[in-house]
Structure formats: structure tokens, C-alpha cells
């Protein structure tokens, strides 16, 4: 049932490059389009050889194609022995072998032993022990082909060149980030909480209007000239506005941000920013 090809026998003319247009391996810069014709592989090339395969399915496909066998009808015993010879050889060379190769060897051995068992004629099709392996091989082969098809597609930078025209007026201006008031307040709420946690001098709950007025007063006064105290009030703001202004001025005085002078009793009061 098997026609085992001895590993050291030269093979018939290999079925040339049916499986791949790509160089099989590159050894010292020289592409190898075919594998060595027999299983004798110089030790230094064996590693390259192993790397040339994308796993056990790839190696199996190679063995099948090389002998022009039909994938649907693999002479399992023969292929198994060839496969195992390769694996043994790689192990003899103490090359690190991916575990998947050994798993496949076991799978093949199992199929081979099941093939040897007698089966009732009727169940032959469904029960062919090779079915799953054949399915996987075909499945792998179609994607291997697809990879080659994709490799052959026109590609940007190799076959397709896009245009890139100069744009001298390009302005590098970047819009400043946008901020929502909500985000600002949210952040502030968290600051307050944090401040509460590790600070005992709480932020005083001063009405904002006083703070704002402090800023306005500071904007009005300067360190060189005196500003009339009266000018810091706007009567039209009413009583509330006047009080806020006064509080702001007192607060600024307290913080030594402004100075106040009155040259004579009941005379005009002047304000200037602290130097």
C-alpha cells in the first residue's frame, strides 16, 4: 500500500514551483526557487529550509505537490513516512521545531493506522479518516493562494503613486481648544472638595461681586496717579452697587493692594495702586 520514497533517493524532477512564485528561501542573498531534490540538505541550509515553511500544513502541501499527487487522494502512508523523515532529520539536527509539526506527525500516524482497519463499503465516504486533514489542507491552500494574489495586487508606493502637490500657503494655525463653562465649574467643584480635605483654611464664601469689583477697581487705579475715590462708585448702581464697591475697596486696602490718601479733613480722598 505504500511506495515509500527513501529520504536519500533523488526525487523525480520536482513539480516546479506550482505552489509559489516567491523564492523558496534566500541563502546568502541568492534566492532558492526550489528545494533540494533529495532529502540530503546541508546542515547550514536546513534551518533555512525549515523557515521556508509556514507550518506543518505548508510542509505537507509541499510534499504532496512535489509529487504531483491529488490533494483529495493522499497516499497517506507514503506521505506520513516522508513527513516523519523530515521531522526526524530536523530533530537530528537539533533544530528547534515548532510543536505543531509534532502534533501533525501524530495526526498522520493516527490516520494511517485507521486506514489500515477494514471498513464496511457503505461507510467509506463519510468515514474516510483523511477527510478532516484534506479539508484543512485545502482550506490552508486557498489562503496561501489568496496571500499570493494579494501580494500581486497593485500597491501604493510600488505600483500606485498618489499625487502630492505643494501647498505653499498652508497656515499652521491651530484653533485653540474649546472649553465649556460646565467643564470649568465641574473642575472647580473638585478643587473645592480637595481643598476641604487637606486644608483647614477654607475658601471663604465671599460674594463674587466683591471679588469682581476688586478687579475692576484695580483696573481703574494705577501706581503713578491718584484716582478720585468718588469715581470708583457709580450712583446708578444703587445702594447695593455702592456697598459692593466700598467692600471691594476696603478689601483691597486690607490686602495692601491700594493706598488711600486724604490731604485735609473733609477733602477729596484719592486712591492709587500700591507701588
Amino acid at each position: 500500500m505504500t511506495s515509500n520514497i527513501e529520504p536519500t533517493h533523488p526525487e523525480e524532477q520536482p513539480h516546479s514551483r506550482e505552489q509559489s512564485e516567491m523564492p523558496f528561501a534566500i541563502v546568502q542573498g541568492a534566492p532558492y526557487m526550489e528545494l533540494p531534490r533529495d532529502l540530503y540538505i546541508p546542515p547550514q541550509a536546513l534551518e533555512v529550509f525549515l523557515e521556508a515553511f509556514e507550518g506543518p500544513l505548508d510542509l505537507l502541501l509541499y510534499l504532496i505537490k512535489k509529487q504531483n499527487l491529488d490533494i483529495l487522494d493522499i497516499p497517506i502512508a507514503r506521505i506520513t513516512e516522508q513527513y516523519i523523515s523530515y521531522i526526524d532529520l530536523m530533530e537530528d539536527m537539533q533544530l528547534e521545531l515548532a510543536g505543531e509539526y509534532l502534533v501533525m506527525a501524530a495526526v498522520l500516524a493516527e490516520i494511517k493506522s485507521r486506514m489500515l482497519l477494514p471498513r464496511p463499503q457503505a461507510e467509506e465516504d463519510e468515514d474516510d479518516p483523511r477527510a478532516e486533514l484534506v479539508r484543512r489542507l485545502q482550506e490552508y491552500e486557498r489562503y496561501k493562494q489568496a496571500a499570493e494574489d494579494i501580494e500581486a495586487l497593485p500597491r501604493v508606493g510600488r505600483d500606485v503613486f498618489a499625487t502630492l502637490v505643494e501647498f505653499p500657503d498652508r497656515n499652521k494655525h491651530v484653533e485653540p481648544p474649546e472649553v465649556s463653562l460646565e467643564a470649568l465649574l465641574q473642575v472647580f467643584a473638585e478643587v473645592l472638595q480637595r481643598a476641604d480635605m487637606y486644608s483647614h483654611h477654607m475658601i471663604q464664601r465671599e460674594p463674587l461681586s466683591v471679588r469682581e469689583r476688586m478687579t475692576i477697581v484695580l483696573e481703574r487705579v494705577n501706581a503713578d496717579d491718584f484716582t478720585n475715590f468718588r469715581e470708583l462708585f457709580t450712583v446708578s448702581e444703587g445702594r447695593g452697587g455702592v456697598i459692593v464697591a466700598l467692600l471691594a475697596i476696603l478689601e483691597l486696602l486690607k490686602e495692601h493692594l491700594i493706598e488711600m490718601v486724604q490731604n485735609e479733613i473733609n477733602g477729596p480722598i484719592y486712591v492709587k495702586a500700591a507701588a
Binding site: 509556514e54 483529495l72 487522494d73 497516499p75 490552508y140 489568496a146 494579494i150 505600483d159 503613486f161
Partner: protein, 235 residues
């Protein structure tokens, strides 16, 4: 804005841009204008540009993520000489992984490994993601919630494709039922495929498509349908 102006702006934008421009992208050019041009007007202008460039050195083509001007392939031989840098070569492992994702998306890494029969190095997935050719579109609803990978529009752009269904069609899976029972006579060409074996998880389990947008899904369905035309799935 006159038609000519619109056309000129689009022409300049397409020629100056380093990526394809969709009609929506084109609209953003006009976002400071009192009124946006109609999408129809933009389409018409693009068509008119396409005609203008017939027989010229470059052509306006549509790829997955929009329109781009590119050197007419008749002339790429000469243009190639402009660039010293050789385009990168990709390993077989990377291309096979990419092919499986392209044709079987969305798919998990474990499913790819099952098809290839070997484990996939993390660097391959990483390279594919860095090139923006693949992305995670969800998680399969199985233990461990593995990531589901799919190709992107950038992948299609890079390979000059408009949609997934433009990929070369997958080879047939031959019918094992037709297998010649005589193991030693099995060299004649296999009969036509009647029934194929179920292609793994192609018809696939459930998955949660968290990010994938509608159009992409449509594309992958198209691709799947096409592959289904070739490979009847039983199962």
C-alpha cells in the same frame, strides 16, 4: 461659488492631499462658507474632473475611502524611478494572516491559527495594526472574549481596491465526496464541486460588533456572499 471654482478647489485639494478624499471629507473644505455645496454638486464636479484627466498622466480614481489622483499605471514605470526607497516586502506569514482576515473577517486570532496550522507571532498582528490594515471590530462571545479582527478601508486603499468584493476570488474547496475510493487511481482531475466542507467558522458564531460601521459590515457581507457563490457552505 461657481461650478468652476468648486471644481478647482476639489482639484487642488485632491492633488495636495496625501490620502483619499470622500465626498464628506470634501464638504469639510467648505465648512466656513455661508452655505455648503450640495453633495450632488460635489459628485458632479468629481465626475467632470475625472473626464478632464482622461488621457493625461494622472487619473482620478475611487478607492475605498474616497477619491484620489494617482499616476496612470501606463506611466508608473517612469515614476518608479523618482523614488529611491524600495517599498517594503512582507513575509508570507504576514500576507497569509492578512489574507485570512480579509476573506474571513471578522475572525479571531485563534481561528486564523487553526487555518494556518501554526501560531501567529504577536508582531504580525501588531504590524498589521500599525499599518492600519486591520483593526479590532468586536469580541467573540466565547470565554475569554477574544478580539475579532477585520480589515480597514486603509487596507483597501493600499491595494487600490474600492471594496472587499474586488479581492481576487478564493479558490474552491473540492468535494471530498467525489474522492476516488481507489487510493491508487486518484490522479484524475476531481469532479466539480457539489458540496463543500464547512469552511471552519465562516458562517461564524455570534460576535459583538462594537465599532464596525455599517458600511464596513456591508462590505464584508458582500465579500462573504461572493465567497459563498464560489463555495457552497453546507453545515
Amino acid at each position: 461659488m461657481t461650478e468652476t471654482e468648486l471644481k478647482n478647489i476639489l482639484e487642488a485639494a485632491l492633488l495636495a492631499s496625501d490620502k483619499p478624499m470622500s465626498v464628506s471629507n470634501a464638504l469639510t473644505l467648505f465648512k466656513d462658507e455661508p452655505e455648503l455645496p450640495e453633495r450632488e454638486a460635489i459628485r458632479a464636479a468629481l465626475q467632470s474632473l475625472q473626464q478632464d484627466y482622461e488621457g493625461r498622466g494622472v487619473e482620478l480614481v475611487e478607492v475605498a475611502s474616497g477619491y484620489r489622483f494617482q499616476v496612470r499605471s501606463d506611466y508608473s514605470r517612469w515614476i518608479n524611478r523618482l523614488f529611491d526607497e524600495r517599498p517594503p516586502r512582507y513575509s508570507r506569514a504576514l500576507l497569509e494572516t492578512l489574507a485570512i482576515i480579509a476573506y474571513r473577517q471578522p475572525i479571531t486570532r485563534a481561528e486564523i491559527e487553526e487555518i494556518r496550522g501554526v501560531s501567529i507571532s504577536g508582531s504580525i498582528i501588531k504590524t498589521l495594526q500599525e499599518r492600519e490594515w486591520i483593526r479590532v471590530v468586536g469580541h467573540r462571545d466565547v470565554p475569554g472574549k477574544p478580539e475579532l479582527l477585520a480589515t480597514t478601508r486603509e487596507f483597501l486603499d493600499y491595494f487600490n481596491l474600492k471594496k472587499l468584493s474586488e479581492l481576487p476570488s478564493l479558490a474552491e474547496i473540492k468535494d471530498f465526496d467525489q474522492l476516488n475510493p481507489d487510493l491508487f487511481e486518484g490522479l484524475e482531475p476531481p469532479a466539480q464541486a457539489g458540496q463543500a466542507y464547512e469552511a471552519g467558522a465562516e458562517a461564524g458564531g455570534e460576535y459583538e460588533a462594537t465599532e464596525q460601521d455599517a458600511e464596513d459590515q456591508e462590505e464584508s457581507i458582500e465579500a462573504r456572499e461572493e465567497s459563498e457563490n464560489v463555495v457552497p457552505i453546507t453545515g
